[in-house]
């Protein structure tokens, strides 16, 4: 069996505490992962500056080349993992076995990670708005128009408290090393695979091993990473988001409540957008924060809901090796049942109807011996105040909400990705001004169609670097 050590600035550490990662369907042990204790993290964080110092010795253009090489290794190489090795195929198989994501989705997430690494030069250029990258290394410098700029790293390392169930989010931390910031990774208990494989790929490509720590461990390891790293990304539910909303050191990622809004000017042609809507709800098993959980329109909502339901209602789970497996399993005991119960409660409210039921043979909740599934669910809400009008669950579920266009911006609440189908210029301006929307797509764009040259949930450069004034000569008299 694979045995995977803690990595303390690249040095393997075998702990007395180990946790087995098991196959979600069979319970078969897949690997033994050594567990850090919080004290180890505290001890190591005292040397965090060393990670940045080492990275700053490597010019950023060279780091960008390393990223390309790492992308190739990640996608194609048989890489060491603990006391064994892992091919890309084995990676997908084991990731699927521990997370419940179908193997083809794991492969697809690998491609996303690799794409980001391959295009890191363009991504950094876009995210820094064309900043000469040596300014990040040196701390100051002049841009092309001759203006002095200074950027100061907020932290020598970025801490990441990663999730267990959503391999796609690992793309978010790929730009960190080329910005010469070290990595402190606390993997999710069921998904140690991406952090370890990515670490090995980076190091074989040329990143000094002393720049990355990987600390699998219990909750107090995650809270220590969050406490001690001056910049941290954490992944969790709404509770996590609320907990850290006032903490500028923490970027909390949770549910996205992503939505599609259809303008009055085009809603009579709603059928033209049906494929886009279905894909936005359904791709990646509906598991991502960028999957749409709401479709809002002022009319035709019953027909829209029915058309989506007709497509998604019959969908059910298949084998994890099925190249078209549509759904991911819920591997945490009771999670699917609890969500199902919440949905049933929401359906009791007046004006709220489940539309998928008539197209589905059987129940929404499928309980199996060691895992559960939730089948796609489309709900129609005849008013935007219904509880289910603004909820999000980790499977293909969306509410089609009837709402006057003039009221939509007042009612949608926080929305990570908002795709809006309209050519109404006045409304477009209002949408551009709406601060509750993070990523805005105006036009026929799926909510889950990400452009990596655009910031995702806040600009990582702004999170890691502080723009400040710097002078090395007296200013002109004025």
């Amino acid at each position: 069996m694979l045995e995977i050590p803690v990595l303390r600035w690249g040095t393997p550490y075998e702990s007395f505490d180990q946790q087995e990662v098991v196959h979600f369907e069979t319970g078969e042990p897949l690997a033994k992962v050594h567990q850090a204790n919080a004290g180890l993290v505290k001890m190591d964080m005292r040397k965090a500056q060393r990670a940045r110092d080492l990275l700053r010795e490597i010019p950023i253009p060279k780091l960008l080349e390393i990223c390309k090489k790492a992308a190739e290794l990640y996608m194609t190489a048989e890489l060491p993992l603990g006391n064994g090795t892992q091919t890309p195929e084995e990676f997908c198989r084991i990731q699927s076995a521990s997370t419940g994501m179908p193997e083809w989705m794991c492969a697809s997430n690998m491609k996303k990670v690799s794409f980001v690494l391959e295009h890191m030069d363009e991504i950094l250029d876009a995210l820094t708005r064309g900043l000469p990258l040596d300014i990040l290394t040196k701390g100051y410098g002049k841009e092309e128009r001759g203006v002095m700029l200074s950027y100061q790293a907020n932290s020598p390392v970025l801490g990441l408290v990663l999730p267990s169930n959503s391999p796609g989010v690992h793309t978010l931390w790929m730009p960190i090393l080329p910005m010469q910031i070290g990595l402190v990774l606390k993997p999710g208990s069921s998904e140690p695979w991406t952090p370890y494989r990515m670490t090995e790929a980076f190091c074989q490509a040329g990143i000094p091993r002393e720049c990355i720590s990987v600390y699998p461990g219990p909750h107090d390891v995650g809270s220590t990473v969050t406490e001690l790293c001056k910049r941290v990304m954490v992944f969790g539910g709404q509770q996590t988001i609320d907990k850290y909303k006032a903490n500028p050191n923490v970027q909390a990622h949770g549910p996205g409540f992503s939505k599609i809004l259809i303008g009055d000017d085009v809603v009579d042609q709603w059928e033209d957008y049906l494929d886009l809507i279905v894909d936005s709800i359904y791709l990646n098993g509906g598991r991502s924060c960028v999957n749409a959980s709401g479709v809002w329109a002022s009319r035709h909502t019953e027909e829209i809901a029915d058309a989506i339901a007709k497509r998604l209602g019959p969908v059910g789970p298949t084998s994890m090796t099925d190249p078209e497996a549509p759904l991911a399993a819920f591997t945490m005991t009771g999670a699917a049942k609890a969500m199902n119960g919440q949905i049933e409660e929401g359906l009791k409210e007046s004006g709220v109807t489940e539309v998928t039921e008539k197209y589905r043979d059987g129940d929404r909740l499928i309980e199996m011996e060691r895992c559960d599934y939730l089948r796609p669910t489309i709900v129609h809400c005849d008013n935007p105040d219904a509880t289910l009008a603004n909820t999000e669950y980790m499977f293909p579920m969306a509410s089609v909400v009837k709402c006057e266009q003039k009221d939509m911006l007042k009612k949608i609440g926080m929305t990570l990705v908002c795709s809006v189908f309209t050519e109404d210029q006045d409304w477009t301006q209002q949408l551009l001004d709406a601060t509750q929307i993070d990523r805005l797509n105006i036009g026929p764009v799926k909510t889950n169609a990400l452009n990596w040259l655009q910031p995702h949930e806040g600009n990582i450069v702004e999170f890691l670097f502080r723009a400040r004034a710097f002078q090395n000569e007296p200013p002109a008299a004025h």
């Binding site: 007395f16 505490d17 204790n37 004290g39 505290k42 001890m43 406490e227 907990k243």
Partner: protein, 367 residues
């Protein structure tokens, strides 16, 4: 061979001592002249007579399990044996939970427990006459008085820094992590001040978390526990794992500072850790202070059945002092049953951790 037969002989001797101790203390606690109102009243509900039917330690299985909820609320003097009534009495609380606390009345037990424990400490690392730092909760707990008494018993003076774990629990529940950090810094600030004040402190009691915080503060200031003058630490009060033991010895303290784990509570007194042996791979094995208290590792489904050596079970506690009688109480912990040791020739327990069936609802100590 000789060692094993010696150990076997020691084990037998100590079993005899335990049996005799059991008889003596059952007679004391159930005698209408000397027993406590609680046990004299409780005895009326038994289908056996403790005075005639309990003749050895094994006979304690005749008692129903002791429920620690019985310790919540008053009047607390129902627990005081009649023979001890009128003596100066303390009341100590257990745990860091809220609500009506569990209370235990104590007259001299805490002193006796810690004097006995003191005898197990190596003088090389806990020099007689040296001063102590007690860094942990005081308030209604026995720890401060107990450690202070031990320091005095060994000829030293104890300097105390308090920490209120109930306040920390409240802060954590409210998500006020910055305030937790600030409070922790406040506690460590005081410890640093005392250590820097020329009090010749060589010994310390503290908890794993506070030791971690103190050691790292000293490192941040270019010093260390050893350079601060500390030679010996006894450490307990919250979870003390094998992994943490190794981390403490290898990284926090260095090879010249001695640390010994303890496992104890207000009901039992203080269990001792098996002396450090590199061959154990930092495994922590505890031995109760027999015969005043005994622990047995029992079957999860049948608390009267002791599991085999090396097997896992729940920790069952027995306390028999003149002040307190507990004829079997299931702790909130589980672990593996361990063989007797020549220094402690009776059953031990290793790998102590929260009982798996209640672990998810247990609040792990914060101090």
């Amino acid at each position: 061979m000789t060692d094993n037969s010696n150990l076997d002989e020691l084990v037998k001797q100590h079993q005899d001592i335990l049996d005799a101790h059991t008889r003596e203390h059952v007679q004391w606690h159930f005698n209408p002249e000397t027993g406590s109102p609680y046990w004299l009243e409780k005895a009326k509900s038994f289908d056996f007579d403790p005075l005639t039917d309990v003749n050895c330690f094994e006979d304690l299985n005749k008692f129903p399990l002791f429920e620690d909820d019985e310790l919540r609320g008053g009047p607390v003097d129902r627990w005081i044996p009649k023979a001890l009534q009128g003596k100066p009495t303390y009341v100590f609380e257990t745990g860091g939970t809220t609500g009506i606390p569990k209370s235990r009345v104590v007259i001299d037990d805490f002193r006796i427990d810690y004097e006995n424990f003191s005898d197990t400490l190596p003088d090389e690392y806990f020099p007689k006459g040296a001063n102590w730092l007690m860094l942990g909760p005081s308030g209604p707990r026995r720890l401060r008085l107990a450690v202070e008494h031990m320091a005095q018993h060994r000829g030293g003076i104890s300097f105390c820094v308090d920490l209120d774990p109930r306040w920390v629990v409240k802060l954590i529940k409210k998500g006020k992590i910055d305030e937790v950090k600030e409070y922790s810094n406040h506690v460590i600030d005081q410890a640093m001040t005392i250590l820097s004040a020329g009090h010749d402190i060589k010994c310390m009691f503290t908890t794993p978390k506070l030791l971690e915080a103190l050691a790292m503060r000293l490192m941040d200031e270019g010093s260390s526990i050893e350079e601060a003058g500390i030679k010996g630490i006894f450490c307990g009060g919250t979870e003390f794992t094998q992994q943490w033991y190794r981390f403490a010895r290898e990284e926090l303290l260095g090879e010249n500072v001695f640390i010994t784990p303890t496992y104890g509570n207000t009901l039992m007194g203080l269990a001792c850790g098996k002396p450090f042996d590199p061959a154990d791979n930092y495994k922590i094995t505890y031995y109760a202070p027999q015969p005043r208290a005994a622990i047995r590792v029992v079957d999860f489904d049948d608390h009267t059945k002791v599991v085999g050596y090396g097997e896992t079970g729940r920790v069952k506690l027995f306390t028999m002092t003149k002040e307190l009688f507990i004829p079997g109480f299931l702790e909130r912990d589980e672990g593996e049953r361990e063989e007797p040791h020549v220094k402690y020739p009776w059953d031990g327990v290793s790998g102590v951790r929260p009982f798996h069936k209640i672990a998810s609802s247990t609040t792990v100590g914060v101090y």
